[in-house]
């Protein structure tokens, strides 16, 4: 038996091979790259110490992108989790059947390609003949340019919330259904109303799950390139530039591989911090 358990180990090799190819090698190479002078035309990259880090930190665009990335991440996550929470409460109160219909249809935006979602919303946001502006005019407003410099970041965030909140709702619903019904019934017999039940029983019991979900959502959103880039390419100007799009442009527009790698390193550190936070929160949730 023990012998068999040891033999099973070699089944891990294919996974390890791909993980080394897509994670370990790139991480090490990127660390190296961030300390070197490396553009498209470099033959022999020289070691330049912290020069790239200083250059990136001295670049105002980096801070614009960081600020945008934080706004985009925080707003996305807060609205996804809050909307997901209330959707889950609603689904929990309805019958199995209602839940099934909702589940089957609500995840559609989540499984469609982000580029396709971007086309759809460009069409909806269109200032001349978009559906949204039809409603704006119907309500007596002036047509709005949703992808303008002032609004673009919020419009892109709204698309992200729309796309993902049902996904979180299903996770939270699974958490709600794991709460034993007796607890709620006992509280009701003691005279607790719906609000008290939510406030003092449901919410505290769900808090560990909500925290973990929120942190995962934070990591995913912070690194989410596809939707932002296909909707706005970071524009207009730098209105929706986030760190991921900035790194991409440094590679393919400015051809500064070293700056791009350094931006990647900053993203890596921010991610690392978030992951540590997830670990500590989920460990505390288990005990």
């Amino acid at each position: 038996m023990l012998h068999y358990r040891k033999k099973v180990l070699f089944l891990l090799f294919p996974l390890l091979f791909f993980l080394i190819l897509t994670f370990l090698y790139p991480i090490l190479y990127q660390v190296n790259l961030s300390f070197r002078d490396y553009t498209l035309y470099t033959v022999n990259p020289q070691f330049v110490g912290l020069r790239n880090y200083v250059a990136v930190l001295g670049d105002p665009i980096f801070f614009t992108a960081l600020k945008n990335a934080l706004i985009w991440t925080i707003l996305s996550v807060v609205f996804q989790i809050v909307l997901g929470f209330f959707t889950a409460l609603l689904l929990n109160a309805s019958s199995r059947k209602g839940y099934k219909v909702f589940r089957n249809l609500s995840l559609l935006p989540f499984v469609l390609p982000p580029v396709a979602i971007a086309v759809t919303w460009k069409w909806l946001y269109n200032p001349l003949y978009g559906l949204l502006n039809y409603f704006v005019i119907l309500l007596g407003g002036e047509p709005i340019n949703f992808l303008s410099r002032q609004l673009a970041l919020y419009s892109v965030t709204a698309v992200n919330v729309w796309k993902a909140f049902p996904f979180y709702a299903l996770f939270i619903l699974a958490g709600l259904q794991s709460i034993p019904q007796e607890i709620g019934e006992a509280a009701r017999i003691d005279g607790a109303g719906s609000w008290a039940l939510l406030r003092y029983i449901t919410f505290p019991l769900l808090r560990p799950l909500l925290l973990v979900l929120a942190l995962f959502a934070t990591v995913w959103t912070f690194n989410y390139f596809d939707l932002v880039y296909s909707l706005t390419q970071g524009g207009p100007g730098q209105a929706t530039e986030i760190l991921a799009t900035l790194a991409y442009k440094n590679v393919f527009v400015r051809l500064r591989f070293d700056y791009a790698a350094t931006i990647g390193m900053f993203m890596f550190f921010i991610n690392l911090g978030l992951v540590m936070l997830i670990r500590s929160v989920s460990v505390r949730g288990e005990t």
Binding site: Y29, V115, V119, Y134, Y248, M267, S282
Partner: protein, 282 residues
Amino acid sequence: MRAKSLSILSYYLLIGLLLFFILIPIYWLIMPSFLPASEMFTFPPRFFPRTFTLQNYSDVLFTYPATVTIEMPRYLWNSFLVCGVVSVIVMVVSTFAGYALARMISPIKKSLRTVVLFTQMMPAVLFFIPIYLLMRRLGLVNNLLSLIFIYPGMVAPFSTLISEAYLLGIPEEIEESAMLDGAGVGTILGRIVLPLSAPMLIAVLVYSFVWTWNDLVIALVLCHANEVRTASVGLFSFIGAATVEWGGLLAGTVFCILPPLILFTFFQRYMIQGILAGGLKT
């Protein structure tokens, strides 16, 4: 009694309203793609079309490849090729690794799960620069092989968690008797475990196919030349093309959403169960 049925009614109304908001953008993508240009831009817009045309679709399939070198059929084929190969690789890799994790002794297992989780939380988007430079050195930029090398490592961590969660549910006793008869790992996997794992395999297949189909950033970095574009990259280059009409763009987008849409519609039960099982364990 009456109050209760009233509140049930309001529940369904609220759920219906939510669904309406979730689905209307997708309806507003598919419906106008069947409209002639003259009807697409009517104001106020019509929610139920009176005319129907396949003109936009024939533009995408036949006119654009010849006139503006936007070759959607080729992009779709590229995507099918890459997604198919990657999904098969991921199914093998994550079944192997998931089985190993499910049957292993705990100390190594815990640290391995941490590694898997860590890679899951550190998306390779962070590292697309080294990946691009590596592929450039190997001469694989603008070669679909580069995607086939890179995607499995990004999809496999999570699908390994899916298969581990499933395989833990298969009782070890079934395997033990085969072990006593002297069966090796390969025999047990192939004869006993795999025949019981259809739901898990479907979940992994759908997850990896859809993930790979939907990715933009890696494909954009590694395969941007016209003849190797995937559906997402092709559609992305479509967005900026000045010569393209909205009708053609919407029809091209519908082509692009069809595979995930179909896979998800038929196999969502497996996929949702898989994702919840893999995700809730983390």
